[in-house]
């Protein structure tokens, strides 16, 4: 393995594309210094190479995660791909290299800088997805329920199955403003799709009445003698308020 040459890998931004970068680095016996899907300045870097997404290659790497590390690692990499970290691809790449070397033990190396950071980030992703299971607010437009969120991580793939299970007979849309993605559910099934802009019709009066009822409940349930805005904000940070019907 030559260490002198440290190329930049460009890929299409899909998990399959990333797995192909792992494949290529082994095929070419080189270690990239960066793996990115953002075609900004990096395109100009002299040692950038575009990695073509090949489904077979991706599949080979994906299967190897289970065979050489553990099934847990497979699931872990799928989640790690959703985290909000500018270095996520390189962290994942280094994690996979370590996994090939140490096998299942890599999952226990919590104090290692790469593994620890990745595990903490995935924990953060899971926590955020869990928070949104509560903080998603649907507004009913005719027969479709719509919710917008502005998450840090790409939570939609973790969030959509929960609501799909919860409202199998409803039609709903959850729009992720950060990554411009939408989960669209109809009784026939769910799809995740990119969506640049979402324009909504005005809210009907009958719907506003429910918003008012909910605000009334949220206000009334608090005990005045225990008022504790700090505690409220710790549990429900301000960044969620924008989409919460009951918050100012």
């Amino acid at each position: 393995m030559t260490l002198e040459r440290r190329p930049v890998y460009l890929y299409d931004g899909t998990l399959e594309g990333f797995l192909c970068c792992v494949y290529e680095s082994y095929a070419r016996k080189e270690i990239p210094c960066e793996i990115t899907s953002e075609n900004g300045q990096t395109l100009l870097a002299e040692d950038a190479s575009w990695i073509i997404t090949d489904w077979d290659h991706a599949q080979k790497v994906y299967v190897s995660l289970d065979r050489k590390i553990t099934m847990e690692a497979q699931d872990f990499i799928r989640k790690a791909f959703l985290i909000d970290d500018p270095d996520r691809e390189m962290l994942m790449y280094r994690f996979i290299r370590m996994g090939y070397r140490y096998g299942r033990r890599v999952m226990d190396m919590l104090t290692d800088d790469t593994v620890g950071r990745l595990i903490r980030a995935v924990r953060g992703l899971e926590r955020e997805a869990h928070s949104y299971m509560g903080f998603v607010r649907f507004t009913v437009y005719d027969q479709v329920m719509v919710s917008c969120i502005r998450p840090k991580n790409r939570v939609l793939p973790l969030l959509a199955p929960h609501f799909e299970d919860r409202f199998p007979e409803e039609s709903f849309l959850i729009y992720d403003r950060t990554y411009r993605m939408a989960a669209v559910h109809k009784p026939e099934g769910t799809v995740l799709t990119s969506l640049d802009k979402l324009v909504l019709p005005p809210i009907e009066d009958s719907e506003r009445a429910y918003h008012e009822l909910w605000r009334c409940f949220q206000r009334t349930i608090a005990i005045e003698s225990r008022t504790n805005p700090r505690c409220q904000m710790n549990h429900m940070p301000k960044r969620y308020w924008e989409e919460l019907t009951e918050m100012p």
Partner: protein, 446 residues
Amino acid sequence: MDVYEKLTILTDAAKYDVACTSSGSDRAGRAGAVGNAVACGICHSFAADGRCISLLKVLMTNSCIYDCKYCVNRASRDTRRTAFTPEELAELTIQFYRRNYIEGLFLSSGVLKSPDYTTERMTRAIRLLRDGYRFNGYIHVKAIPGTSPELLRELGLLVDRMSINIELPSESSLRALAPQKESSAILRPMGLITSGIAENRSDLALYRHAPRFVPAGQSTQMIVGATPDSDHRILTLSEGLYKKYALKRVFFSAYSPVVEDPLLPSVFTTPPLLREHRLYQADWLMRFYGFSAEEIVSERYPNMNLAIDPKCNWAVRHMDEFPVEVNRASYERLLRVPGIGVQSARRIVQARRSGALDFDGLKKLGVVMKRARFFLTCSGKCAPDVTDDPEEVIRGLLSEKDRRMLPAATGEQLSFLDLPGIASGAARLLLPAGATTESREGGIML
């Protein structure tokens, strides 16, 4: 009266009920139905008092034939009374649920006419939700003491969790403040639910599709600070409820004065929030850390030290059990170390499989070194600048926040320092003098 007004009145009347958790049931969605239940529970919002909102917590009615002194809904109080119809309540629940405001319903009620009559009304609303709206989400119902066993059984098959408030931690307090309720009227249905759950478990072993009876278990709550009952009484009672009645949770509610009565603390007292917080910490120690009530409080020291959390308190009184060697100690021993919680103890056990841990590594695992450093060694080495002088240890354990949380004056709540064998200098540092005397009357016999 419109639904908005009813909701205001019946929420206001329900807000002193503590439990709002939606945990304990794990139920996938079904085709043709609305809803599922997630084992860990989901918080949907937080009220201005910082408490989680998970369920639509309302009363069926705030009319009540009882006259319990501490209660906002007592019969003799001059307040507006109203009631939901089963239809109104079911529609409101389902519309809130669809918009993802709530995880389900928490229904309680004042007693209208008789316990049975009240329970029948609640059952009608819940049955409408389950059968009419095909609602598959979480339902917590408060059982009305004195309801007949058949009705409770019917209700139990429709809900996830059932609870009966034990209200006050001793028979004497109950006699003084809720003369129409007896502890037997509370404990009998509690026992019924416990045995119902146990029977159901054996039914389920035989028939997979047997209907589930109270699958998320039962809980209870008691008011803290309205009566002179000690922490010792409260915690041993809780322990008994966990053991004997297999309760899932015991909740504590710091008494907020709602009425003027010579038997109650004055309306100007603030709710004993710090004491409530310490009780929850102790409760956590009993449920997840393998502590017994007697390890936390005793006949001799019946109240917890408000200045220091119960786990630290236990640790400084048992310095002979420390230090614990991080790389070898069992999970149970690790859990006893202040600054190590369930998560970090698990992580330690996991991480040390791949190599020895040092202090730097522990920090990365989420161990609170500020507290843990006094009680640990890593591969035989102590943390730098650590003494085992208890006085120093206590000084180190008390955070700025701990000191701020201390009430300014010596109230009823403050106990004398529960640290036998420790120099009185440290004791003075921690607390002003002032001891609570425990009432000698009998507790509730389980």
